[in-house]
């Protein structure tokens, strides 16, 4: 699956869109991981600006990428979340292990 991204100074920014549910997470997981593997990045930023729905599968996607970044000594950050998305991420206390803006 094609995902919009930008690489700048070893930072990978991934721009997610629409709905991040079980169906989409499975596809996004492979796409994001191949970007991490193919570019020499030390930080991953996931942009939720164009996302209008997230459920627990989105939490799984974020936690999976968190583990992957940690395994290579890198960091992860979540940006542009709405109130509703923050509410979901807070259920799993995501904000205690990474920056959520």
């Amino acid at each position: 699956m094609e995902v919009k991204y930008k690489i700048h100074n070893e930072n990978l920014i991934v721009y997610l869109k629409n709905e991040i549910d079980h169906h989409m997470s499975e596809k996004l997981r492979t796409s994001i991981d191949s970007l991490i593997d193919n570019a020499d990045v030390i930080s991953l930023v996931i942009d939720f600006k164009s996302v209008n729905f997230v459920d627990s599968s989105g939490i799984g996607l974020i936690l999976g990428r968190y583990k992957k970044m940690r395994s290579i000594g890198g960091k992860i950050k979540i940006i542009n979340t709405t109130k509703q998305i923050k509410k979901i991420l807070h259920m799993a206390s995501i904000e205690t292990i990474m920056t959520v803006n």
Partner: protein, 147 residues
């Protein structure tokens, strides 16, 4: 007295998860829901349907039945599958518990359903199926009569 219902049957495919939650939200929206209530309902339905797809049928064929009932200010959503069933419901409802850690499931499905709905009941029998009932009281704003 407001009273209405709908019934939807879908195949347990991940493509149908978004269709199911959007359909339930569209039907329930006649209850004068706030945007937050719509979003909460969609998320809870998404969790229950995803559970049936991922765990109930594990990519096998079958049917997921979704029934939505409106009765006055109470919204009841039943998500029934005829899959493998849940061995230990108490454990399944625990936050972060998942039977498929390699599948990147967060184990937050039931926790989110419980947080976003007023009541969540689960009945399950091995190799017969699982019935999840979600209930939410909708805080109705009185319609103002403009004369």
């Amino acid at each position: 007295m407001k009273e209405d219902f709908m019934r939807l049957i879908i195949q347990p495919k991940s493509e149908n998860e978004s269709f199911a939650r959007a359909t339930v939200a569209a039907f329930a929206s006649r209850m004068n829901l706030t945007l937050e209530e719509i979003s909460d309902i969609q998320t809870a339905v998404s969790e229950a349907v995803t559970n049936s797809v991922v765990h109930g049928y594990k990519d096998k064929k079958g049917e997921i039945e979704i029934i939505v009932i409106i009765e006055n200010n109470t919204l009841t959503i039943k998500i029934n599958d005829f899959g493998v069933g849940i061995r230990n419901i108490k454990l399944a409802r625990k936050p972060f518990y998942t039977t498929v850690p390699e599948g990147e499931r967060s184990g937050m499905g039931f926790t989110i359903m419980e947080a976003f709905m007023d009541e969540v009941s689960v009945i399950s029998q091995i190799d017969v199926g699982t019935r999840v009932t979600l209930t939410k009281e909708i805080s109705q704003e009185e319609d103002i009569d403009l004369e």
